[in-house]
Amino acid sequence: MTATKTPHADPAERKTTYREALREALRDALRADDRVFLMGEDVGRYGGCFGVSLGLLEEFGPDRIRDTPLSESAFVGAGIGAALGGLRPIVEIMTVNFSLLALDQILNNAATLLHMSGGQLPVPIVIRMTTGAGRQLGAQHSHSLEGWYAHIPGLRVLAPATIADARHLLAPALADPDPVLIFEHGGLYNTSGDLPADAGPVGLGQAAVRRPGTDVSLITYGGSLPKALTAADELAGGGISAEVVDLRSLRPLDDATISDSVARTHHAVVVDEAWRSGSLSAEISARLTEHNFYDLDAPVERVCSAEVPMPYARRLEEAALPQPGTIVAAARRAVGDAPDDGRAD
């Protein structure tokens, strides 16, 4: 798939935030197609629990910006039904933690109907939700479960990490005939920066190299991207050139981009805020051994969250999460530049 530019791309580069970029994407989608509507808890009058849909109710009315009761299973399932009925629902779940109440609908209906029906029933739904930790919200509001969803055939799973992706991933997600899950890291909403004028829609399923480098590939996504970029800066100061690969799509994975990068750098560090065991980072590491076994000069390193329900206390939460420092240390180990830390290599 190749990236195409929209004819009406934004006139010039301008400052915005991740949150506003998401909102603009929603607004565009609602304007472009009458079948598109947004529903979820507090998306309307409240403007979304993280303020993403603020102002959309006023513009599009309560029919298309639909507040739901606290009934995740019912409104996600209803979104799936509405998609079967010819609409293009965008369902917002406040956070991935609450999506577990709708997991049955997502897995047993959205992801399987096409196949179970022998190809008769595609489910063109988009489900957005917040993910991630870092705000001292404790164990029921902080987990990164997108890797679980990336396990499921029949779903597409996206994780916009940049303002441009926040702005441009929704349109192709809606155009896709199958269910697409979009994970927005809670720590990114306030990110501000420039929205490049030429950044048109991106093809689904494409990773992006956010920073080229030659010595080690930092493979990451979502809320860990800024941390990996910070780590790359620090590594550069120490003479290590890190390439930063932003997965963007967690399912399917862009094997080609990942593999190309590691074929050039010969070292890989996977950074994933989710737990390590049975995770997306494990999947990437496995694929690297399948595709890049003879390119690798060292074992694949992984920087993940500690395997603990996320603690509230600030110091404990910080210690539980990947940090630029732990990414730097892993990269140094990978390239064999580690201070002797007692680890057997």
Binding site: E41, D42, R45, Y46, C49, D67, T68, P69, L70, S71, E72, S73, A74, N97, F98, L101, R135, Q136, L137, G138, A139, Q140, H141, A306, E307, V308, P309, P311, Y312, A313, R314, R315, L316, A319, A320
Partner: protein, 346 residues
């Protein structure tokens, strides 16, 4: 296992009803309980703005009569299951203020050793089962605690607090049916404060008479003025008696209101300021204080005395929380699974 039990009057009922001076003393206790919660949370607001408390924090200011009145009707053996808006439930239940405060400071002396924060207060010794930040998440637990009591023949009650928003979740409806079907000793206490975050009751419930709907499950079900501590306590005592007597789960819809925003992150733009003001006229603390004044039970020095006592308790709690140590980072992975020695302990 028998499904019926002998009725047993709540321990303190006759005591609190017998003589006018006892009633006055009891009202003073209720007022003290509510003031404790109110002042504690007001202090939390200050501490939050100083970033000494972090995360999501939900206040029950305006809803104190429910926490205090209901727990008054429970015995120490009964269990309480709560929500993320649980400071009042925890304090009323007897979780020490310094353990609650230290928890919000993320300190090792906190009632959840700093792992939980404001939304996850626990105290197993006081049978306070938390502190649940998944809306409706505590309801099935309450049924299970009650089932365990039923199956082991313990005459205990499990009280579960939850909101009007939670009433829309499958968790509520599945649990209500199960508890009623099995006649489980659960007291469902729905704190109907008219909002689920920014969504008004009439925008998230097709039928807003929640007590009516709960009754459809075959439970005894009443709507109660949740701003009147005495009315709350009275209803809770009767319901607890019924539950303990074996007549199955009871449901109380507590009609109440939160005076503050949903959480510290909420800008509270979805409701009319006049509506808040109208409800403030029925402030549960004021309402009881007014009644006591009318009865000549609340001379100024009594109120000052209560306020002083409460302030001292909170000052101590804050001081202790400030001085308490943090959990060392080396202990990050404790309590993920039980220590080996405890796994197979009989």
């Amino acid at each position: 296992m028998s499904t019926t039990r002998t009725p047993r009057a709540s321990a303190s009922r006759s005591r609190s009803r017998s003589r006018p001076d006892r009633q006055a003393a009891h009202r003073r206790d209720l007022l003290h309980g509510m003031l404790r919660v109110r002042r504690f949370e007001e202090r939390c607001v200050e501490l939050y703005s100083e970033a000494r408390i972090r995360g999501f924090m939900h206040l029950c200011i305006g809803e104190e009569a429910v926490a205090v009145g209901v727990t008054e009707a429970l015995t120490a053996d009964d269990a309480v299951v709560s929500t993320y808006r649980e400071h009042g439930h925890a304090l009323a239940r007897g979780v020490p203020a310094d353990a609650v405060m230290a928890e919000m400071f993320g300190k090792v002396t906190g009632c959840s050793r700093g792992r939980g924060g404001s939304m996850h207060l626990f105290d197993a010794g006081r049978r306070f089962y938390g502190g649940n930040a998944i809306v409706g998440g505590g309801l099935p637990l309450a049924a299970g605690l009650a089932l365990a009591d039923r199956m082991t023949g313990r005459p205990r009650v499990t009280c579960c607090f939850f909101g009007d928003g939670a009433f829309a979740e499958g968790e509520f409806h599945e649990t209500a049916n199960l508890a009623a079907l099995w006649g489980l000793p659960v007291l469902f206490v729905c704190e109907n404060n008219l909002y689920a975050m920014g969504t008004a009751l009439s925008r998230h419930q097709a039928q807003t008479d929640l007590a009516l709907r709960a009754a459809a499950y075959g439970m005894v079900s009443w709507a109660v003025d949740g701003m009147d501590a005495a009315a709350v306590e009275d209803a809770a005592r009767r319901a607890v008696e019924g539950v303990r007597a074996g007549s199955g789960p009871h449901f109380l819809e507590m009609r109440t209101y939160r005076f503050r925003a949903h959480s510290m992150y909420d800008s509270d733009r979805y409701r009319d300021k006049a509506e808040i003001e109208r409800w403030r006229e029925r402030d549960p603390v004021e309402l009881l204080a007014r009644l006591m004044r009318e009865r000549g039970e609340l001379p100024d020095e009594t109120l000052t005395g209560l306020e002083d006592e409460v302030r001292a308790e909170i000052d101590d709690a804050v001081r202790a929380a400030e001085q308490a140590p943090e959990e060392p980072v080396e202990d990050l992975l404790t309590y993920v699974t039980s220590p080996p020695a405890e796994v197979n302990r009989p």
